[in-house]
Symmetry: C2
Subunit: 359 residues, 2 copies
Amino acid sequence: MSDRFTGERFTLAIDAMGGDHAPEIVLHGLEIAAERHPGARFLVVGDESRIAPMLRQLRRAAGICTIRHAPDAIGNDMKPTAALRLRGASMRVAIDAVASGEAAGVVSAGNTGALLTLAKIVIKTLPGIDRPAMAAIAPSARGDVVMLDLGANVVCDARNLVEFAVMGDVFARTVLGLPAPSIGLLNVGSEELKGDDRVRDAAEVLRASPLAAQFRGFVEGHDLTAGTTDVIVTDGFTGNVALKTAEGALKLVGDLLRMVFRSSLTARLAYLLARPALERLREWLDPRRYNGAVMLGLNGVVVKSHGGTDAEGFAHAIDVAMDMVVHRFNDRIREGLARLAAPGAGQGNGPDARLAVVP
Amino acid sequence: MSDRFTGERFTLAIDAMGGDHAPEIVLHGLEIAAERHPGARFLVVGDESRIAPMLRQLRRAAGICTIRHAPDAIGNDMKPTAALRLRGASMRVAIDAVASGEAAGVVSAGNTGALLTLAKIVIKTLPGIDRPAMAAIAPSARGDVVMLDLGANVVCDARNLVEFAVMGDVFARTVLGLPAPSIGLLNVGSEELKGDDRVRDAAEVLRASPLAAQFRGFVEGHDLTAGTTDVIVTDGFTGNVALKTAEGALKLVGDLLRMVFRSSLTARLAYLLARPALERLREWLDPRRYNGAVMLGLNGVVVKSHGGTDAEGFAHAIDVAMDMVVHRFNDRIREGLARLAAPGAGQGNGPDARLAVVP
C-alpha cells in the first residue's frame, strides 16, 4: 500500500509459520490482504519448500509477496529464552527485517511471549517509552474501544499507565480515526479515592497533562462493553483477564442462543425468521473483526494475530498493521510524548514536576 | 429458619435503609423471604416511623420481623470513615446486632465500602484470616462458579490468595453443595511460569496444601464463563473488574438482542415464537438470581445486596445469608484453616515451612 501523501510504498514482514494452521491460513490471509492493499509489499518468511508452491496458487498475493527462507519455527510452548536463541526462526527473521528497516512492520500469529520478547530486544523500545504495551480493539455499545495493556506487562507502575494512555490516545486517533478520543483508567469504582496508589497517582498525572481534556477519570469493568470511553487504560494483568472475560461472556451467550434456537421446531422457525438480523449481530461481534493485538512503543509496527484465527482474521491483522504504518503511528507517538514532556504542557509545571509524583 | 439438625432458630439483622429503593424493596424482599424461611427471625433496623406501617401490610413478614429503630442512614456517597462515626445508622445498628451475638448475620443493600469497613471493625476478622474477602456466585456454561475477591482487597499478596482459596472452597461446599469443588487461580495464562510472583507463590503453596487435589492451577478470564473450575481465586482489583466486565458483556448482548427482535415485523414474529426458550435463557442469566455478594472471613455472616435490585433480588441475598448461617459456614472455615495449618497436611512440611514461601 502506498501512502497517499508521499506515494511511499510499504513492506510488511509476515511470519508465515506462526499460528495453529500455518502456513495455509497465513497465505490465504495474504491473498485477501493483497486485494485490499494492492500497493503493499509482503516479505513472507518461513519454510520456502512449503510456502512457494502454495503462493503460486494465489493469483493476487503472488504478485506482491517475496519469500525469505527461514529453516526454523517457534513452537507455541517454547519459552521466550529458548526462542531468543533460534536465530533461524521465521518469527525472528521477520522481526530482523523490521529492525534493519527493510520492513515497516511485522505480523505474526505465533507464540505471543516469544513475539513480545523478540520484538522488545531486536526492534527495541521507542525513546521515552519505559515499557511497550499490547493494545486491541473491542466492540462496545457505543462503537469500538481501544484497551491496553493486554498482558505485555503483568506488573505496572503509575508511570507505565500514563505512557499507556499516551499510546492508547495515538492508537485511537490513528486506527479508529477519532480526533480527540476520551480516555478512562480502569479501576474498581469511579470515585477519586477508589483503587490502589498506582491508579490514583496515574490519574493525578493525567489530570495535569495535555491529555487532561480527554481524560474521563476512572472507569469500571462494565464500561468496556458500554463504551463509556474510547480508550481504556489498565495494567497487563487486569487487561488480559478483562478482555478474555468479555470474550468468554460473549461466547457463552452465543452458545446458549444456538441451544435456544435448536430447542424446538418453533424455535428453529424463529431462527429462520430472525436470521438476517441475527447474522448482522454475529458479524458485528465477530472476533475476526477484532483480530490483531498491537505492540505499541517499539521502533516498528508489531501486530499479533490470534493463533486460531482463519484467513479473514489474519487479513484483518494485516489491515491493522497497514493502518499503523500508513498513518505513521510511531511518528505520532513521538509527538505525543514530546507534548507530555514539553514545559508549559498541562498545568505548566514542566515534565519533571509532573512525572515526579509518579513513583 | 431452623437448623434441621439442632432445631436452633436463626436471626438475621436486616439494614432496612440501604439501597436505591429502601425501605420499600427491602420490606417486600422480606415478605418473599418470610415465605421461604418461615422459621427464621428478622431484626429489621431503620426508621421505625416508615417501616412499621409498611410492615403491617405484609402478612407473612409481620409475623417474624422485629423492628429496631435507627435514626440515621448511611448515604451511598458517604466515605467509610464518616460512616464509622454514625453510630445510629441502620447499617451500624444491624452490624452491632451481629457483633453482640443477637443475630447470626446481616444483609444490607447499602454503601459497599461502609459495609466492608464497619463489618471488619465491628464484627472482626476470624482468627487465622489476614483479610476478609468478598465472594459472589456467577453463571457459567457448566454451572455456578464462585469468584473471590471482588474488591474487598485491591492489593493482595500470595498469602491472601491462599486464604481466599480456603474460604472459596468452604463457600462452594456450603452454598453450592459441592463435595470437593475444583479451584483455579486467575492468571494471564495457564502455564506455570505465567503471571507475577504473587500468583506463582500462591500456586506453589496450594499445590502443597490439603487443597492440592482440588487445585487445577491457573485459569484465565474466559474460564469464568466456561466454568472450568467451581471456584476462581483472584485479588480484589482483578476480580472486581472481571465480574463487572462479564456483567457488562452479558448486558451488551441482551440489549443487542432486544434491538434485533425489534428490527422488523418478521423479527418480532420470530421473538414471539422463540419467546419461551429465550425467557428460560433470560431467567437463567437473571442478575437477581446471583444477587448477594458475601463477605467471607468475619465472625458472622455479612451479605451485600446490589443497591439497585428489586424485592426478588433482595430475597435472594437473604437466601444466601440463610444458607451460610444454617450450614454453619464459619465453623467450616475454621476447620479448613486448621487443616491447612495442621502438621502433616499437604506435603508434610508443617504450616510454617509452607507459608514461609509466601512473601
